[in-house]
Subunit: 197 residues, 4 copies
Amino acid sequence: MGQDRTLRADAARNRARILDSTRELITRYGAEVSTDAIAAAAGVAAGTLYRHFPNKSALLDAALQGTLERLADITEAAWEQVANGRTSAMEEFRALATTYVDTAAEDRAFRLAADRLAEGYRFSADQLERATRAGQRLIEQAKADGDMHPDVVIEDVYLLLHSAPADTHAPARARWLTFMLAGFDAGRRQWQTTGGR
Amino acid sequence: MGQDRTLRADAARNRARILDSTRELITRYGAEVSTDAIAAAAGVAAGTLYRHFPNKSALLDAALQGTLERLADITEAAWEQVANGRTSAMEEFRALATTYVDTAAEDRAFRLAADRLAEGYRFSADQLERATRAGQRLIEQAKADGDMHPDVVIEDVYLLLHSAPADTHAPARARWLTFMLAGFDAGRRQWQTTGGR
Amino acid sequence: MGQDRTLRADAARNRARILDSTRELITRYGAEVSTDAIAAAAGVAAGTLYRHFPNKSALLDAALQGTLERLADITEAAWEQVANGRTSAMEEFRALATTYVDTAAEDRAFRLAADRLAEGYRFSADQLERATRAGQRLIEQAKADGDMHPDVVIEDVYLLLHSAPADTHAPARARWLTFMLAGFDAGRRQWQTTGGR
Amino acid sequence: MGQDRTLRADAARNRARILDSTRELITRYGAEVSTDAIAAAAGVAAGTLYRHFPNKSALLDAALQGTLERLADITEAAWEQVANGRTSAMEEFRALATTYVDTAAEDRAFRLAADRLAEGYRFSADQLERATRAGQRLIEQAKADGDMHPDVVIEDVYLLLHSAPADTHAPARARWLTFMLAGFDAGRRQWQTTGGR
DNA sequence: AATGAATGAGTTTTCATTCAT
DNA sequence: CATGAATGAAAACTCATTCAT
């Protein structure tokens, strides 16, 4: 409840369309797309866009929420697999990490969302919590299985996601994951101070 | 020798100032700084900047050469330490990686140089070779010592450099390095195809 | 109908003002006038000019269309005179040629439009066709009257228009026309291959 | 005597080289070539160019003198042919006009020189007089032969030269000449006031 | 609420001309 | 005399944001 209630049906539709177009254009062209292009793609005028969002940055924030939803979805799906006993937690975690990195390479919005995750966590609670909860369950299970290093926390996953070399070729990304995931293995030896932010 | 020799003293001073300003402004604001801002910071007119460099891209290239030099310097220095028997190769490699990542965090020019390293390698041979040679020696020695995984190649180091989470806080960077470096350890188990580019 | 209909009153006014200013400044200073100068003369900001026309070349094209219209108008008017039996076709043709040349001398936009006529003919069909049709009728009638050389084609008229010495004084232009028009006379003797292009 | 005497040998050589380069570059690229390009082609520095000529316009003026020389040469050559009885004056005049027009099409410097001829006649007397004298002799002879219209004067030739459609294809130029030369024929009937300037 | 036109500062780059070396 | 570095005022074009309709 709250503001949403006051939005007229067509206004709500416009808002949704603007967000969709934003995500689509960012996915393809990055955050440099012009607001005019976004408005045009959404089939509204520039003024309408600015009625719904105070400025471009706020628009991007809002649009990336939707992308975060996707991230939550695939993370939950991964956990489902494990909960249903179809794969081991660590196996699934590796697969999930691969999906993260490849998605980041294909979808610039995903990458931006990941950046914000690692940076500020200032997303609305909903999707973030879903993603975080599913991720944490995966981690806990993998630790319990004795496959993942006991110090790993969810922020480490976001850090991995944020630092993925999205602008390189697939083989380079795979190689990068090999290095990175080695750090998540139970067998890793030394350790550093826990990273805050 | 070459053209540089022909430059008048004052012109050389200007050229150096432009490059310095470029590096400084990039360090602080990224590659989006305007050429006008750079010229102003260097205390010259726009035309002077363009007399020395045909366009913005060439200016950035030249400025990043200087940064690459810094990278070569610290890499060579690391190798010296090992060559002089002061530390083990793997220990020094870890320290070097830490320096890389911290420098990238402080200096956006350094990060840009690193990006180019990972992407295209189209720098003038000099500094690149120095950096590469020193890095390779370090790697070889660490492998010979049985401390580093035998499959590591120099491109992996550039990939590490390129993907460093430069926009995070120091503790997060340290933690990230812990994960990443685990992949360089001799003890690592599984392996992926070698990343091309 | 089409886009023009959708233009708001004030926008249409601005568009018209921009076109007027363009023609006026071109008339006086040639096609080298800056877009900024045109915008200023029209009393709008640079961005407004570029909202109406994608680039300078498109603006010039549009402005010259208006001038071409003028050319079509005076050509049609000439034909009317003949159709109404007020003058002979050849007489009117001579008068028309004189008007062409004098107008080209006074109005650099007219000359530019003429150049394009002779070069590429890539104007929107409308005005061009009007001008061409009227011109051809005039030519045909003059030939039928036995006053004009039978090989003359409309392109010859455009060539005359294109080569008019617009930057000379009136007496020189009159004299030039005397020479040129002699070539259109029925009495002319030798002939060359028909000019392509 | 005069200034030339004071020029040192090397200075004179530089001056000549600058003029040569100017003509060459104008011939190929038109009057828009930058002074820097001209200086570079001449193997001198920008300052040297400006020591010899107060500004770009003066440089063009001086350079076009040389082109005018070429014009004088071919005109005299034409007259020689006639004086030697090898061809009739009118025939030679037609050939000369064709050469003028084709040369103007190929050599932008020639065209510029022709423009100035028709406009202001403000060239140094020498070459101008040679060209004019040879041209006049040709005209007088053609008139005496009964082949050229008795009212033709040398300025008419310059007007022809100036208005040649240099930017069209060869067939269009040939056709244009057909029309224009008809006006020079003895057979032409009506007449206009003599064009001054 | 929506429209879409207008703003205007900002971007990269060029070039005739001047002046310190 | 010559050099060539520096100047700085253009030029064409973009885009986030505002505001009259």
